[in-house]
């Protein structure tokens, strides 16, 4: 497991290995303070990404306003022009990987605007989930050629959204996750787990997939419905199989992310999920009989579980360091 120069330098400073007046030079020598070249590259990317983002959002906000004075052909013309522009940038700048990737991502977002505009204008009577599903379907070719993690995450997010909308109208994010039907939770779990497995398998071969933020995000999207299924199953609202599936999943995650791919984030997430499941087991079986003392027991239980998790995670972390 890699540790950044930053955290190692901080450790050295705290040990007193570097004299206070040398710290600034040490920061520069270790590249913790970026040099002017690094700044130039970073600002270049920042301006490009935010510029493209702001322009895409401008188009999105424009159509959300639903300007009555503008005819429908003008609207379609504008939306399509925006897409053509984004694709044209991709085409002409294909020798610059990041510009190409960002313009395809922008085109993918604009495609959704166009589809929403279509639904708004012709009142197709289609269900909301179909919009996001069609959007995902139509942007798939761009995702395939983009070789860009953000575009794929958008694609998976759209599929997640359409599954949730199939379940019922969109509510707040929290209620969306925690008030869904059992089948929806299973579907979400299956989709994200599959995506996570494929991502981890390909990440070893493809460098553009190697950044850890994407599989971590997918793991959160996999773990949340699974944890909720297990909690509901313990509470007797869902079938018992979910609790068993959770146990199996926990063992698999613990094995994979300790032995095959070292990622402490996943293990921390597993601990959190474990704490939630254990507490709900306790709530179901102990709490109801003794109300007030139950609070104390619960507090002690959380301290033991939280402290134990932290201790285990730190030990694993230390083992990987040496």
């Amino acid at each position: 497991m890699m540790t950044s120069n930053r955290s190692q330098l901080i450790e050295l400073i705290q040990q007193g290995a570097i004299a206070p007046e040398q710290i600034e030079s040490a920061l520069k020598a270790s590249k913790v303070r970026p040099d002017n070249q690094a700044w130039a590259t970073y600002l270049d990317r920042l301006l490009l990404c935010f510029g493209a983002m702001a322009l895409s959002l401008a188009v999105l906000f424009f159509f959300a306003y639903n300007w009555a004075d503008l005819g429908k052909y003008a609207k379609f013309g504008l939306a399509e022009l925006a897409i053509v522009l984004a694709v044209a940038v991709y085409w002409y700048q294909s020798h610059k990987p990041l510009v190409a990737q960002v313009s395809l991502l922008a085109a993918s977002i604009l495609l959704g605007v166009l589809l929403a505009l279509y639904g708004q204008t012709y009142q197709t009577g289609a269900d909301p989930w179909q919009l996001f599903f069609n959007w995902a379907l139509l942007m798939l070719p761009w995702a395939l050629i983009s070789r860009f993690a953000a575009t794929w995450i958008l694609w998976i997010a759209l599929l997640n959204l359409s599954i949730q909308l199939y379940d019922g109208p969109m509510r707040s994010v929290l209620r969306q996750v925690f008030a869904s039907q059992e089948e929806t939770l299973w579907l979400l779990f299956a989709l994200n787990a599959l995506a996570l497995i494929i991502w981890e398998l390909l990440a070893k071969r493809l460098t553009w997939m190697s950044a850890r933020w994407a599989p971590r995000l997918l793991a959160v999207a996999t773990g949340t419905p699974m944890t909720w299924l297990a909690v509901n199953s313990i509470m007797g609202r869902h079938q018992a199989i979910a609790a068993m599936a959770w146990c199996a999943g926990a063992i698999i995650i613990a094995f994979i992310y300790q032995r095959l791919i070292r990622d402490l984030f996943m293990l921390a997430g597993l601990c959190l999920s474990g704490i939630v499941v254990t507490i709900s087991f306790f709530l179901r079986n102990v709490f109801r009989s003794d109300f007030a003392d139950g609070f104390l027991l619960l507090a002690v239980l959380i301290i033991v579980l939280g402290g134990g998790s932290a201790m285990w995670l730190k030990r694993v972390h230390q083992r990987w360091q040496s």
């Binding site: 040398q22 303070r33 935010f50 510029g51 959002l57 997430g269």
Partner: protein, 352 residues
């Protein structure tokens, strides 16, 4: 000893910045998600402990008793945290201190017999003291967040809510720019810095909500407008850019310095009505300036949050928002184009 540690030591040695043997590796500070797990479970345990005390003891009947017990618990937690490196003891101390704080606040609120600004001022004072004094990363971080929240409440009550974002941004900027200067207090600076950073990322868009909720918008200072608050944040951002430029030895007369400063000014003035944008940008820049990836992540999430909050503000129509975004987007792309033209072909010449 692993390879990266050795490589870093050799680099430092070659530059003459360290002498002698490499110190034996101590465990590197645990990553943010382990700390987050500890913070969540400590805080949750405190809530249940408070509920237990509330249900079983008569403490809550007497404000004085509640206040005294709370204070004793906080002092006990302080003693535990100072002496121990054990995870379980740390957790107990954390939960005890949080419960103690709830008891103290409850006691004060009962004694004041009202929920006005005095209570928030006292909470602000207490949380600031705890953030400075408590010798524990997670405790300092949580206290800093609660302090920022009570500061927002106080400022909103006084009708100064619009200045909150700028004030918080300047605190964040100062702390993170001094991260490696205050060597003796490094741990404290980082813990409080992260607490205020998270508060800035979450609360910068919520001043408006608070005003409506409180019904006391701009009572004392009717001439204060939202754009003035944004201007203050923009000024902080420009100051941060200026400091970073100086740090990399780009002098004031330099073309690059001029471009960077005027570019920042133009973009932040064009986006005055997009709340939280300047703060998010500042967090990103400060994060990159110290290779802090967690901070950059918070900056990106904060910017996404700011964009979605902007969508829902009612002050201007979506059409106007669309125009503003178009201008900001074009300015950013233009800035990139100018930067590519202005930077010398061999950027090494600019090296410090």
């Amino acid at each position: 000893m692993n390879d990266t540690q050795q490589a870093l030591w050799q680099t430092l040695q070659a530059s003459g910045l360290v002498v002698g043997d490499q110190p034996t590796a101590t465990p590197i500070d645990s990553p943010w998600y382990i700390k987050a797990l500890q913070a969540v479970s400590g805080w949750l345990a405190a809530l249940f402990l408070f509920a237990f005390i509330g249900f079983t003891m008569d403490l809550l009947d007497s404000p004085i008793a509640s206040l005294v017990t709370g204070a004793v618990m906080i002092v006990g937690a302080f003693a535990l945290l100072r002496g121990s490196e054990n995870d379980f003891l740390e957790h107990i101390a954390l939960a005890a201190s949080m419960t103690g704080q709830l008891l103290v606040i409850y006691g004060i609120a009962e004694m004041l017999n009202s929920r006005d600004v005095t209570l928030w001022l006292l909470v602000l004072l207490m949380q600031s003291l705890l953030a400075v004094l408590m010798p524990h990363f997670i405790h300092r971080l949580l206290s800093a967040i609660f302090a920022a929240f009570s500061l927002l409440a106080v400022m909103a009550d006084w009708g100064l809510g619009v200045l909150f974002e700028g004030l918080l941004a300047s605190l964040v900027a100062w702390l993170w720019l001094h991260e490696f200067r205050l060597v003796k207090h490094m741990k404290a600076v980082r813990a409080i810095g992260y607490g205020l950073l998270l508060s800035a990322a979450c609360l910068s868009n919520s001043v408006e909500t608070w005003d409506i909720f409180n019904g006391s918008s701009n009572v004392e200072f009717p001439w204060l407008e939202h754009w003035m608050g944004s201007l203050l944040t923009a000024a902080v951002l420009i100051l941060v850019v200026w400091t970073l430029l100086q740090r990399n030895h780009v002098s004031a007369g330099n073309k690059i310095a001029w471009l960077a400063l005027s570019g920042t000014a133009v973009v932040s003035i064009a986006s005055l009505e997009i709340w939280g944008l300047s703060t998010g940008l500042m967090i990103l820049l400060l994060g990159f300036a110290a290779s802090n990836r967690v901070m950059q992540g918070i900056g990106i999430v904060s910017l996404l949050y700011s964009a979605s909050a902007y969508y829902y503000t009612l002050e201007i129509t979506l059409l106007e928002k669309s125009q503003q975004l178009l201008i900001v987007g074009l300015l950013l792309i233009l800035a990139r184009w100018i930067m590519q033209k202005a930077l010398p072909a061999q950027p090494e010449r600019e090296h410090a």
